[in-house]
Subunit: 344 residues, 4 copies
Amino acid sequence: MTDFVCDYNVGCHPLILRRLEQINMVPTRGYGSDKICASASEKIKKACNCPDAQVEFLVGGTQTNQVVISSMLGPTDGVISAKTGHINAHESGAIEATGHKVIELEHHNGKLDADEVSSYLETFYGDENHEHMVYPSMVYISFPTEYGTIYKKTEIEALHKVCKKYNIPLFLDGARLGYGLMSPECDLTLSDIARLTDVFYIGGTKVGALFGEAVVFTHGNRPKKFVGLKKQRGGLLAKGWLLGTQFDVLFSDNLYFDISLNAIERAMELKNLLTKRGFPFLLDSPTNQQFVILENSFFKKLSALVGIEFWEKVDENHTAVRFATSWATTQKDIEELAGILDTI
Amino acid sequence: MTDFVCDYNVGCHPLILRRLEQINMVPTRGYGSDKICASASEKIKKACNCPDAQVEFLVGGTQTNQVVISSMLGPTDGVISAKTGHINAHESGAIEATGHKVIELEHHNGKLDADEVSSYLETFYGDENHEHMVYPSMVYISFPTEYGTIYKKTEIEALHKVCKKYNIPLFLDGARLGYGLMSPECDLTLSDIARLTDVFYIGGTKVGALFGEAVVFTHGNRPKKFVGLKKQRGGLLAKGWLLGTQFDVLFSDNLYFDISLNAIERAMELKNLLTKRGFPFLLDSPTNQQFVILENSFFKKLSALVGIEFWEKVDENHTAVRFATSWATTQKDIEELAGILDTI
Amino acid sequence: MTDFVCDYNVGCHPLILRRLEQINMVPTRGYGSDKICASASEKIKKACNCPDAQVEFLVGGTQTNQVVISSMLGPTDGVISAKTGHINAHESGAIEATGHKVIELEHHNGKLDADEVSSYLETFYGDENHEHMVYPSMVYISFPTEYGTIYKKTEIEALHKVCKKYNIPLFLDGARLGYGLMSPECDLTLSDIARLTDVFYIGGTKVGALFGEAVVFTHGNRPKKFVGLKKQRGGLLAKGWLLGTQFDVLFSDNLYFDISLNAIERAMELKNLLTKRGFPFLLDSPTNQQFVILENSFFKKLSALVGIEFWEKVDENHTAVRFATSWATTQKDIEELAGILDTI
Amino acid sequence: MTDFVCDYNVGCHPLILRRLEQINMVPTRGYGSDKICASASEKIKKACNCPDAQVEFLVGGTQTNQVVISSMLGPTDGVISAKTGHINAHESGAIEATGHKVIELEHHNGKLDADEVSSYLETFYGDENHEHMVYPSMVYISFPTEYGTIYKKTEIEALHKVCKKYNIPLFLDGARLGYGLMSPECDLTLSDIARLTDVFYIGGTKVGALFGEAVVFTHGNRPKKFVGLKKQRGGLLAKGWLLGTQFDVLFSDNLYFDISLNAIERAMELKNLLTKRGFPFLLDSPTNQQFVILENSFFKKLSALVGIEFWEKVDENHTAVRFATSWATTQKDIEELAGILDTI
């Protein structure tokens, strides 16, 4: 069945699998202290144009958010997130489980507004009465957001400035980073991301890898005892080179960007296809996730033929659904969808 | 200086101090396993008209919220609170520090709306996709709220019904319970509170005691190993009878209610006084906290002469302040305030 | 270089890699809700002879211990472990990070003694004074242990009996389960393990898989909301079928046991080789880890030619080292070691 | 009944109660930001001969240990304690509940041995392989210990030196500090304690106060955001001046030391009394707790007439019990005990 359910529904790019086969029986040092991880780190630092960066590999997104955030906050500190942020809404309380509050601010199509963040911080730090409140000590954003939207360069610059002013880190969750960077509406480079954030991660799970996320501490600011913290949170992979290998392949020959671009091109084809047929969209997403509003009866018929995801109820008769493309989506998938739409 | 800063600015009711003197040198068993605590528990159960209740004493409000909530939630569970709820806004992340998310819903003058709680729970439990979200497994309300407002009986009945439907406990924070119950607008009795909630606490710190809160599990539902949990959270007082003694006095001869009524009568006098002089109120509070809007220059002059608390900025030129009365406020205090207002 | 450093120094059994290739581009449901995981679960239940079992897959050992233990303990509960137990000594405080104490008892070549466990529990539950202590509410053992030793059937039966008496679960960490079961000294079957424990896990990372551990709740006792807990602890793999696939292969055609047996046969050859040459052993291990005492100068020379792991200092002039075989160790590896030993 | 059950079985020194009465109706600022707390802090700093110290008040011992330890450790850090240390054995896992391991070392009559601490730290920090272990990042001792024993000055100096070498803080739990300092065998002053530790606390609960402990950070090393941390752990008393007042009285006119001395003098009388009558002691305690071995039948008879505490079984026929004197014990109490012993 043609499948647009999500961007983690198939395995990995064939080049990764090939490399895993090549090294399968080669004895390698454990826990990420191997040469492949070192090589992948170097390639990532180069791609970020960021020689002082420190790169760490983890297995999945929630784990990454949990390890990074808990490693950078003190016991009374919390992290600011949009109400819709992944850490606030869809990680089963992984941040709170480490003892930290997620401080939710309003979202604007999934994004935080720098002025609103600034106001919150100003109130907090400007008044003597806030010792009984959680210290807002980090700002978390995702790029793209849960709604597929992306920040403009000026927006991230503004958040960067606010964070600098209050001397708190800006953390960017890049579970789908490639799909953001390759969007036609994106005016940021990977190098900009590295320059404007204190820590971010490059998602592998949703962008060509079997699993794995590469965290980049952008200016030598990796917390001490970080290996211990990864271990403590259950995130230190024994065969760490499996992570290094995947990112080494992804960051060779521009692969990460090329396959991200494929997802975007297919998404734009899909968007055109649906737009032409008159389907309304929940919002205007420039990345690989497209949120479309369907009549309930049509939704029922379509979902029997194509893999799509229920997103939310719009009203009694309408449902918003998500179509996700990925590095693996083909033009043939889009054509099949077109064919199916013609038959319903 | 006349002082309306808060309701915890003086010691305790003289009868309590007298009793503490009387028993000061009498050897007594530690950790709350003494006869005075047992006596106080019985009096509270009687006042609640709730023979199956189990009473536990703790030292302060944040500690009580932390111990109660963490004792009743599983590891992936969270507690619903109004955005302005004390646990969400003013306890330095005490709930999150035990690993649990505070799930904030909108407030209406400090109160939760039962329909909105119901909608949230319905969405959560009605859909298959929520395994990645924190389970809303308790509802927390306060009575009175942070804004001095109180729930009507029908409102608490509605919340009770919602909680029953989803089989989750309703917890009422009664740090100022007496001031709520004695409000002229209150149509609930202590017995109603006990009947309509699963657990609540009777505040002592702000209502006549030096310190101390009495938790009431209303139907034999005290979590197992509760003494251990109090100990673990640093809330098990070695000389537990200090808590029992205070509540034993407060729940003798209607004292708790009588002194609560005093606070309310003084608050109403204060409200009249300010209303007559034309001061606008931030909202209409029927309890011991009154929120008044002052011109900034007037605020400056007044606060040099009377103890009041900054609450929030209203606009460039106006500030909301809080006047709090308590069991200890006298008519003379009100008269002095009137005199001061005349002179400014 | 011939490598006996550890049992997680190469990738996975070739059959697993082949299967991963076959399904690489097949769209599959996420988070372990797929048919491959279901199939693997069934095979494991059958191998355990345990139709009421519930199987859950996780990525690594520390994560598994953390998720399982924290899911089965209440807030004041702790878990009993041998002083040398992995959770007590080598997981960076992963259990404490979830709020639970590891209660250490003495070890006997890595093992707990059932009588000592019983005495501890008897003292605890027999006396009124223990409310200030952590409740020992689970017993954790590993099979094989950190020292490669294994429990006899009578020993596990005794632990099982003690746990039943005090109504607390017995949890067996089987990170190297295959290597224990295939030991010539083992008188237990997988079915015995399932019958005598409440929960255990079958290690994949060290026994033929790239990564992955299969948890078996042996009698329908999987904690509620377990998916949420996996998510919260960062252990819910998006592409969960990667775990299911690996175990599906391992539990087809007896593969898990056959490759485990290979590790044991190579370990016994290695043991003979070293014994014949007169090397003393730190202790007598019947499984794939062999602990040998070397003169420091010899250790230095040998470790330049063969991968071995420093274990501990024995005295000024001697060092204990570990040789580990695995499913991937070949007779040729053993022969090469013999050759090297001849040349030093 | 004559009562030697514990040193927290009566209220407080009458001077404290008198002062509480005097200030009972005086409006005072909340949360410890008042002048009485400031005055008490100054007196304590002076008594410690430690002008750079920072003093913080908390309600009870477990709470104090929890707040202090969790405020000074990073997420992967643990605290070294004697196996018998209060935090390890009798606080219901309060330290682990904040995510930190208590690393237990052997005790010697309740005390840590500096050489053994040094060896542990040396092994840990001297080897590359310890990233998977909890970092020993603080040393916790109590003075007197659980067994009433005290450290010699040379012993604390040795611990101080070890901690300095590894750059980790030394924390002294002084729940019964006065009783240690006033022991005839003590060669340390309060000023020595302040000089040789990084943080310690002066117990009030067991030494003349109703409740309360005064934490002393000895060299300007109070952790940032400490008020917030107290709040988060449920330890920020609304009427903070209740704590300040008690310590202000205790540290006026040498009261704390004088009443501590009384406890020691009574303890020595009690020790002589029991020694003369031929009772064996579990160990030789120079402070206010005396551990005596009784025949079971004698124990039964005695405990019907005098309050004493069961400590542990010695053998089939003998039981160790604790007699505790306190600031409130009188010579008459000792005489009554003598009379009772004569009659059994």
